[in-house]
Structure formats: structure tokens, C-alpha cells
Subunit: 294 residues, 2 copies
């Protein structure tokens, strides 16, 4: 790659591929708090948000750009920790930090992350490909990140090592690429805002409805108990993948070591519904994830 | 382009081209003030910063991404004005707003702009290509943006229509592309931080020195008088281009309607010097542009 330290970075997109671009803010007080999150976790989470968007397209990440505005009195040790968290995750995915911008912040730490990826031409997995009859799947377990956040809000200190899903979420890059390469997924999105909200995006973009079975949802655990259903349905920042597949597609029970669970079906209509363990069916309203607010 | 409203935008990079990526913060209180700048100007300036980086590589802009964090009480009319300024300039350059992110701001308006462009493979004009003997050129006139800023600092109200170089700077996209297509420039950078600082980048990246003739510098005018030399040498945000060319290259007096001025020569060494009208030669220290601070 040429152009590091130049006016622009110059990136090679592999022949026959298209470029993927995503950008995400991570703002102190909105997306993280320095009292709650060690700097390594904040750096990791910044980059994970962008990598997860690349994963949701079935893409290959190529390069990251970090725009970082810092308050004047920020300790150097904090910045070092932030960059360590960011660069460790970048190294795991073999991407470089190819550029960005720095500025003095008027208030708190402000980060904006850009991820550039690539995908074979015409093969990106969009939100708009679901059809009635498709099955609906999720990777991993849901609600763990929001349950940890709830604990932080109630004043408890959490050890990052005991709550990796909140402090060090794993973007599902491998799963996304395998689903794309094997042509298994008809639509896909990452679970950044919570299942109810992200499923509504699939329904809207695909012009379909959805029927979810509550009993099928893979709840994360905290200690030994599953987290409350509200976190599974509406909690954000799990960075798992939500995808649909044609009824004849054989979806493995695990992909790249990550468990895959069928949670419902795509139907005609425009809305999502959920059926509980007693067979009671209700509308599943998108309940927008409001980050660090109650 | 596919993928608008999806997890990533999907962009086609033309065959045989490389991707250019640049990202720039525009932060209230650091890069602009709502008391001084109408919202259209702020939106325009946000995008102009990124377009100017594409221009400095000789690139073709393809798409813009805008991450925007807004305070809760921001009037809708302000946002409408901002977007009008941004989108009018985007339309002039035939690029789309392909995505971005929105958030609530902890303090003031925070914008981060990403520009994606393209350039034929291996043909981007870098900062590192200058050689001793090359001539040094600038486009347009210098110091106008900083002189206007100085007036704003001293409490004067300025009419945007009378000070377009500050409120509505014109990125030199056409000039950059012509210089690249005709293989005229050996190195290039845009004047965002001021001539003394940006020339130092060329010197550093190319491993050369520079000799500038003060009398040759094209000073902007304010009213009918040329702006003071300190603004010409150190004032930022003019968004003109600074480039070098081999001594045998014939550089036209105007390119795409923009006057081009030879201001000095590349020499062996590592530093820039300036010779004044009386023949006195001094070091030209980079005097970092400190935006809205004194």
C-alpha cells in the first residue's frame, strides 16, 4: 500500500472485487465511559464495530482508518492502551491502520472508525435478499453485552476477563466469509442495535415479515444463568450475525467454530412477530438500542 | 452503487484503478464556530477538506461518507443548512453521499468526513516524488482564508459572499486531475495547514530542501490590499495545490481556469528557505496551523 502519510491512502482492491466502506462513531459518554471501560477495551470495541459491518456483507477487511480527537489532559498511558486494543484486533484480522486524522477534542474522547473491505463483484450479502419461506438464523449467543452494560449502570464493577462479550466482542468475519463463499445466506446484518431492531431492518429492506420462536433464541449466560429475555431481544453490541437462508440450504450447526441457531422463518408481510414458550404470539417491536442511556 | 442503507456501502472502483481514502474531522470550536459560520458554509467546508485531499493525489472523487454527531437541541434549520452546503458541493463534483453514521453529541457539532476516490494504478501523485532541480508551483492565491479568520477573531462580522475563500473554498479537483493525466507534477500536496507546513511535508517525504522567492508568492487580497505575508506563508485552509515539476516540464500559466505560479525550486538538503525582496535569505520554519486558536 502506498500513500501512508500522504494526502490520501492508496489501496489496491483485488481484481474482480468491489470495495466495501463503513464508518462508525465511538463517542465518550455515548458509546463508552472511561470510568467503566479500560482503554484496551475501548480501542478494541471501536474497531470491532467496523469489522462487524464488513462481516455482515461477507467481506474481507483490508484497512482501517482512525480519526481520533482527544482532550488536552488525556494521559499518554490511556492513549497507549487504546491503541494497543485497536492494533491487537487489527493484527488478528491482518489489517493495517492505514490513516486517519487527529484533533484536539472539545469534550471527551471522540473516535470515528472507517473500515475498507472487499467482496467479489455482485456477491455482497445485502439486507434485501430475504424471501418468504427462508429460515432465520443467528450466530453465537445474544444479550450478553447488554446484560453487562445493565450491571455497569447499576453501579457494579465488572472484570473485563469475566465479561468478554461486552468488553472484547468478536466480529464474525470468518462466518460471514464462509456464508458468502458457500452461497448459504440470502440476507444478512450484524447485531449491533439488538435483534428486534436489526431484524426489522431485514424485514424493511427485503419487504417481508418474520416469525421468531422465543424458545429457540440462544441466550447468553451471566454466571450460570441465562440473561433476561429483554436483553436477548433488544440488547445491542453483541456483534453476532443475523442471516436468512433458503429452506433447502443446509446450514451447519457450527461455522468456523461458532454455533449457528435457527430462530424462526421469513413470511409474507412487513412486521416481525414472536411466539413465546406458551404459544402466545405478539408483535416484536424494534426497540432501538440507546447505548449508555436509560 | 449497491449497499446504501446496508451494513456497508458497496463501491465499484474502475478497472485498472486504485482506491483513494481520506478522512477529516470538522469539530465545533476547533475547526468552525456556529456564531461565525453559517451552516451552509460549515457543510461546504467539511466536504471541501476531503475533496482537496483527493485533488492532491490527482484523483477522481467517487463517494463521500458523513459521520455526524449533533447536540440534542440543535435546530432542524441548522441541520438543513449544513446538509444543503454539503450536498451542493457534492453535486458540483458529481459524487453521492453514500453513507455514514449519526449519533448524539456530548458537546457541539462533530463531523467526520470520508472521501473515496480512484486513480489509475500507480499514478497517484505522492508527496515523495520531488527531486533537486524541480520547480515549485502553487495554484490560485494564498492567505485569504487565514486573513478572514483573523478578522473573525478580532470580532468583525464578515459577509460570506465577500470572503468566499474562507467560507466556500474551492477544492482544485480539475487541476489535480489534469496535472496527473499530463504527467506534469512530480509531487503534490494540498495547502490545508499553510505553505510553510505543507512544503515541509514535501521536503520530508521527498528528502529534499526548497528555496522560495517571497516576491513570487501570489498573495490573496482583502478589499484591494494584499493580505500580510504571515498569512500567505503560514495561513491554513486555502485548499490550493502545492506541486513540483521537472525543470523541462512546461507548466501552463492557467490550468482549468486557475492561475499557476512558480514560487521557487527544489534543492538538495532537508529544509526550506525563503529569500525576501531585498535578497535576504532565512529559514522557512513550518508554523503549524492552529485553527481557531491564537
Amino acid at each position: 500500500m502506498a500513500g501512508i502519510g500522504d494526502d490520501c491512502a492508496v489501496l489496491q482492491i483485488p481484481p474482480g472485487h468491489e470495495a466495501l466502506v463503513t464508518t462508525d462513531f465511538s463517542l465518550e459518554g455515548i458509546h463508552f465511559r472511561r470510568q467503566w471501560h479500560p482503554p484496551q477495551s475501548i480501542g478494541h470495541r471501536c474497531l470491532a464495530r467496523g469489522l462487524s459491518d464488513i462481516a455482515a456483507m461477507g467481506g474481507v477487511p483490508l484497512a482501517a482508518f482512525l480519526s481520533l480527537a482527544l482532550p488536552r489532559k488525556l494521559p499518554q498511558a490511556w492513549l497507549n492502551g487504546f491503541l494497543r486494543g485497536f492494533l491487537d484486533l487489527a493484527a488478528q484480522h491482518r489489517i493495517t491502520l492505514a490513516g486517519g486524522d487527529t484533533a484536539e477534542s472539545p469534550s471527551g474522547v471522540l473516535a470515528d472508525i472507517v473500515l475498507i473491505g472487499s467482496v467479489p463483484r455482485g456477491r455482497a450479502i445485502l439486507r434485501s435478499g430475504a424471501k418468504p419461506g427462508d429460515r432465520i438464523y443467528v450466530t453465537g449467543k445474544l444479550g450478553g453485552a447488554a446484560a453487562a452494560l445493565d450491571q455497569l449502570f447499576s453501579g457494579r464493577k465488572l472484570r473485563p476477563a469475566s465479561n468478554p462479550r461486552h468488553f472484547y466482542p468478536i466480529p464474525r468475519i470468518d462466518v460471514g466469509q464462509i456464508l458468502r463463499a458457500k452461497k448459504l445466506a440470502s440476507s444478512m446484518i450484524d447485531l449491533s442495535d439488538g435483534l428486534s431492531t436489526d431484524l426489522a431492518h431485514i424485514c424493511e429492506e427485503s419487504g417481508v415479515g418474520a416469525e421468531i420462536q422465543s424458545a429457540a433464541l440462544p441466550a447468553a449466560t451471566m454466571g450460570k444463568r441465562p440473561v433476561p429475555l429483554r436483553f436477548v431481544l433488544h440488547g445491542g453490541e453483541d456483534y453476532e450475525l443475523l442471516f436468512t437462508a433458503r429452506p433447502r440450504s443446509r446450514i451447519p450447526a457450527r461455522i468456523a467454530g461458532v454455533p449457528i441457531r435457527e430462530i424462526g422463518r421469513v413470511v409474507r408481510g412487513t412486521r416481525a412477530h414472536i411466539t413465546d414458550a406458551e404459544g402466545k404470539r405478539t408483535k416484536l417491536w424494534p426497540q432501538g438500542w440507546e447505548h449508555f442511556r436509560k
